[in-house]
């Protein structure tokens, strides 16, 4: 399999005044070219941390404690160290649109000037070449060229979000990671952003996208595969529609069924909710992390942690019940 990026059992913890927060605790995912991998879960489940770990953007108080991040099956980013990864990978191969993208542009520089900085540094272009490239890319992605002459604060929220996405993908990176790109936007702007992301994939400007969100409905519109995280671990992975129609993990089931979708079955099904509170990531529960809130837990669930096992056809799940174990 020529996977683009493979994370093997990566662990990254935060040190806080209360102890070590196990934000990403043994996560394995792989991303293939052409994938739009949606990563879903409640707040605090570790999705944003995972996005940083995938590109080895580790900064105190976060520390990387183990695992491998294999790029193109060859380089282990985890073994390279931050400086090397920054120099070789960031912006060029893997790029990130962080959660606070609305403030991601330098306020004292016009958009075009900032883009010029990026292009001149990475591609060694001169001012004119850089500007031409910027214009071309903006036109390709359906953004007004005048935006290049404006300061960030002069652009609307949705426009800024799209500009940020186009800026980070200027160098045609293989993997684009976006973290909650649509949460702060209204529905019509959300559609524009999603359209742009799909366009990036269709034009092969990027080869794969990791889309982090807590909103399954949004993911359904764009993701090809979905990984559901809970308490720092991945609990289920699989093709988007199949997981959506038939989730195997109880948490995945509750998450998906707490979504209002305009489909006739929903009226009969009713809304479910997930009882209890998110677990303490400093002292997670013994055994399966979801078992205290799981409506279908078995005795084994409080003793043994279920491993993430493949069930064929690209479906993986970490649940004793789903795997038929007692």
């Amino acid at each position: 399999m020529n996977a683009l990026l493979v994370a093997e059992d990566v662990k990254a913890y935060y040190s806080s005044s209360k102890g070590l927060v196990r934000a990403v605790d043994g996560v394995s995912v792989d991303i293939d070219p052409g994938d739009v991998l949606g990563v879903a879960g409640e707040s605090g489940c570790g999705k944003s941390t995972l996005s940083n770990v995938l590109m080895m953007n580790i900064r105190p108080p976060l520390s990387f404690l183990g695992g491998k991040v294999l790029l193109d099956g060859k380089q282990d980013l985890a073994a390279m160290g931050r400086e090397k990864v920054k120099a070789q990978v960031w912006g060029r191969v893997i790029t990130l649109v962080p959660q606070s993208a609305l403030n991601a542009l330098v306020p004292t520089r016009k958009v075009g000037a900032f883009i010029k900085d990026v292009l001149r540094y990475h591609l060694k272009l001169n001012a004119r070449e850089a500007w031409a490239l910027a214009e071309k890319r903006f036109q390709e992605l359906g953004l007004p060229v005048e935006a290049l002459t404006k300061y960030p604060h002069q652009l609307s929220g949705g426009m800024r979000q799209r500009v940020v996405i186009s800026v980070v993908t200027l160098l045609n990176p293989k993997l684009l990671i976006v973290d909650e790109p649509t949460s702060a936007l209204d529905v019509s702007t959300q559609k524009q952003v999603l359209k742009m992301l799909l366009h990036l994939g269709a034009k092969h400007i990027v080869r794969a996208i990791v889309f982090i969100a807590h909103d399954i409905a949004i993911l359904r519109q764009i993701a090809t595969r979905i990984a559901i995280m809970y308490a720092g671990k991945v609990v289920e992975v699989g093709p988007m529609e199949r997981v959506f129609q038939g989730p195997l993990h109880p948490y995945a089931y509750s998450l998906i069924h707490s979504v209002l979708t305009p489909e006739p079955e929903v009226r009969e099904r009713g809304l479910s909710y997930i009882a209890g509170e998110p677990p303490d990531l400093v002292h997670p529960p013994e055994g399966c992390r979801f078992h205290p809130r799981c409506p279908r837990s078995l005795p084994i669930c409080s003793r043994e942690e279920p491993p993430l096992i493949g069930l064929g056809e690209d479906r993986f799940v970490a649940c004793h019940l789903a795997l038929g174990r007692h």
């Binding site: 120099a87 790029t95 993208a101 542009l105 330098v106 990026v118 540094y121 990475h122 980070v168």
Partner: protein
């Protein structure tokens, strides 16, 4: 462009309003005391040892004219304002019949020569130093320099000046013990004079820079630390941009509030410089203020008041102008200041 223009015009209007306010205050104050203000003021002359009655009579008459006592209040005010607009700040009582403008013209340039370079140098150096320790935050440099800067900024600046003078001029004899230039010399554009002046200038200049530098550095350090942690710096980092570019971006943003601070602090720095000149016996506005106070020479004090107030208003206006050009949000009308 139009936003910038609107901003600048607003600032000019406020400046003029402030000027009018202060002129009115200085006009009103002597006329608020019961009785004849000129009488009060001239009587102080007598206290100073001037006893010739004919002389006092002459002075009294002249000042009655100048102050316009006896005329209706409105006419007094217009007379006062026209006088000001002509550049006439009145006649000194203690140095009668010399004009206030004439006297101040001797002292003001020396103050400007000391104050402006000192402010600029300390601001620039202080900002760079602050940015440097912010970048190297937590390292030995930061742990050493920052507490020193904090400590120096806690020492009363006038006392610090005294200590500097004592240490470097009196004890170590590295510099002349105060004064603007040596006795017997007259100001001229000769190397001799300039050299001599610079020798006298160095210690007060250095003292002032050291005092102010700490303040700017500490402020800049905080601003830089804040900016370096902001979203756009972190994003630029993830885009692979090098550290020095990130520092440039943060520095640019952090400088903006420092410019505003320059304006806000100018009044304080101006009054501080008066005191500093006193300690170093540097013959600028400080020493003439002291003299005027000892002699209770009201016209002279009034003139000093007007000059200082105008200086502060002007400096604030200049800073506002500069800020208008460097903050992109003002040029595009997105920020009401």
């Amino acid at each position: 462009m139009i936003h910038l223009l609107r901003y600048l015009i607003r600032k000019v209007v406020f400046a003029l309003a402030a000027l009018v306010f202060f002129v009115s205050v200085i006009f009103a104050l002597p006329r608020l005391i019961p009785g004849n203000p000129v009488g009060v003021l001239v009587s102080k002359l007598a206290l100073q040892g001037q006893t010739d009655p004919a002389r006092i009579q002459a002075v009294y008459r002249d000042f009655m004219d100048e102050f316009g006592i006896g005329l209706p209040l409105w006419e007094q005010f217009t007379g006062f304002v026209t006088q000001l607009l002509r550049g006439d700040l009145g006649t000194s009582i203690s140095m009668y019949p010399r004009k206030v403008t004439e006297i101040l013209a001797i002292y003001l340039p020396w103050t400007v020569a000391l104050l402006l370079p000192a402010i600029l140098v300390s601001w620039v150096l202080g900002n760079y130093l602050g940015a440097l320790v912010a970048w190297r935050r937590g390292t030995l440099l930061d742990k050493l320099v920052t507490p020193i800067l904090l400590t120096v900024s806690r020492i009363p600046f006038y006392w610090f000046a005294m200590l500097m003078l004592f240490a470097f001029a009196v004890y170590l004899r590295l510099f002349p013990i105060g004064g603007t230039y040596s006795w017997g010399l007259t100001p001229s554009l000769t190397w001799d004079f300039v050299g001599n002046y610079l020798r006298h200038y160095t210690l007060p200049f250095l003292t002032w820079v050291v005092i102010c530098l700490g303040g700017w550095a500490v402020g800049m350090r905080s601003m830089m630390i804040y900016e370096l942690g902001s979203d756009y710096v972190l994003s630029a980092d993830t885009l692979g941009l090098p550290q020095r570019k990130l520092l440039r971006y943060a520095f640019r943003s952090a400088c903006l509030p420092q410019v505003t601070e320059l304006g806000l602090n100018f009044g304080f720095m101006l009054s501080g410089s008066l005191l500093l000149e006193l300690v170093f016996n540097y013959r600028g506005m400080g020493s003439i203020t002291f003299q005027a106070l000892s002699a209770l020479d009201y016209p002279l004090i009034q003139g000093i008041f007007i000059v200082l107030a105008a200086a502060v208003i002007l400096a604030n206006l200049a800073v506002d102008f500069i800020y208008g050009f460097i903050d992109p949000r003002i040029r595009t009308g997105h920020l009401r200041r």
